[in-house]
């Protein structure tokens, strides 16, 4: 019986389905990054899910408070963060082509845009707190601060690897695989914001 299984395996390897026999043909670290991101999907799904449930059980109160949020500032931040994703994607393609200076430049843009996002977020937070709006004020603001706060924490964390690979690229050392991993994480943080932005600020 084992022989039959092995035979089938060999046949699969030799046949047209060689790709199917070894589906996860990627580096272990890249696969690990994807698994991490899958767990992150669950983390934010829990936050978003509980927010939506709370929201629809307190629909009128929530939308009143949501409309008081600064949506133009959040729209600006959306543009900034998607822009940073663009520069990150360009950095990854430069890194995979082995172009260190170009990689460093685009990682620099990404870093700056990430910082701009955080500065805008800080302005938003401080204005809120200045007006006495803190997480304990209401269910909506507790959700708002938790969700945007967790997202901002992810972004702050992401700045660290961007800085590290960026500085390496600046010294002429560029590893396409590593930059790609950083890019995956960065795009994920962008992706989370794409959902937070309309659900918190626009509805």
């Amino acid at each position: 019986m084992d022989a039959a299984v092995a035979e089938a395996h060999v046949a699969a390897l030799q046949g047209e389905d060689a790709h199917a026999a070894e589906p996860f043909r990627m580096s272990a670290v890249k696969f690990a990054m994807w698994l991490f991101l899958a767990s992150e999907v669950m983390f934010f799904a829990g936050l978003l899910g509980s927010y939506l449930v709370l929201r629809f059980s307190h629909a009128n109160q929530f939308s009143e408070e949501a409309l008081a949020l600064n949506w133009p500032l959040a729209t600006l931040n959306t543009v900034v963060l998607i822009g940073s994703s663009l520069t990150m994607a360009l950095a990854v393609s430069a890194a995979q082509a082995g172009q260190a200076p170009r990689t460093a430049r685009f990682l620099g843009f990404t870093f700056v845009l990430g910082v701009v996002f955080l500065v805008v977020k800080a302005i938003e937070y401080s204005t809120k707190i200045h007006h006495g709006i803190v997480p304990s004020m209401s269910l909506f603001y507790a959700s708002y601060f938790t969700m945007t706060g967790c997202h901002a924490l992810h972004l702050i964390g992401g700045l660290v690897p961007v800085t590290v690979v960026g500085l390496r690229a600046l010294r002429g050392r560029v590893d396409g695989g590593k930059v790609e991993l950083v890019g995956l994480y960065w795009h994920f943080v962008d992706l989370v914001w794409i959902f937070l932005f309309p659900l918190l600020y626009l509805i």
Partner: protein, 169 residues
């Protein structure tokens, strides 16, 4: 009777969603092929003849055996880089669209659904092209989608209670 129909509907829905996901994980169901490889080329296809548009979505799909002689022989080892700037522009347009649509009031649920729908389109663009998910092995997609399906399941589980609250509190 109606309750039974509802249960049957949810069962079919669940089979479709989760069953398809498991099929995808074991590698027999490829939805990625339905996403065009390069949106710009597909858009160009609308303006030129249809023969050119069919080339980028051609069946090559990562298998090295049937690789077409033209363009990208080295693309098997490194992912092809799609044009990022048009994707960025599309994301910007969708951002404006979602802001504008939020000004049109169609009820709490309606506006929420519209917002989620646009966000899903944007998220798909980011994942498929910026994160190269489109060019990755299709199995990876299912590793990511299955948690999302469970997320939807637990939301659906809690929502009926909200219906009884009436949402006006």
């Amino acid at each position: 009777m109606e309750g039974l129909l509802g249960v049957a509907f949810l069962l079919v829905l669940w089979l479709g969603l989760f069953g398809a996901a498991l099929l995808g994980l074991i590698g027999t169901f490829d939805v990625l092929k339905r996403i065009p490889r390069d949106p710009v080329l597909v858009l160009a296809g609308f303006f030129h003849s249809s023969t050119e548009a069919s080339v980028p979505g051609a069946p090559s799909g990562g298998s090295s055996g049937g690789g077409a002689p033209h363009e990208q022989p080295a693309a098997a080892e490194r992912h092809p880089h799609p044009k990022y700037v048009p994707i960025f522009v599309a994301l910007m347009v969708l951002t404006v669209v979602t802001v504008l649509l939020s000004r049109v009031h169609v009820g709490h649920l309606g506006n929420a659904l519209i917002a989620v729908a646009v966000a899903l389109v944007k998220g798909t663009l980011v994942a498929a092209f910026f994160m190269h998910l489109k060019f990755e092995t299709k199995h990876l997609l299912w590793v990511l989608l299955i948690p999302v399906i469970f997320g939807i399941a637990y939301m659906l589980g809690i929502f009926p209670d909200i219906g009884t609250l009436g949402g006006g509190h």
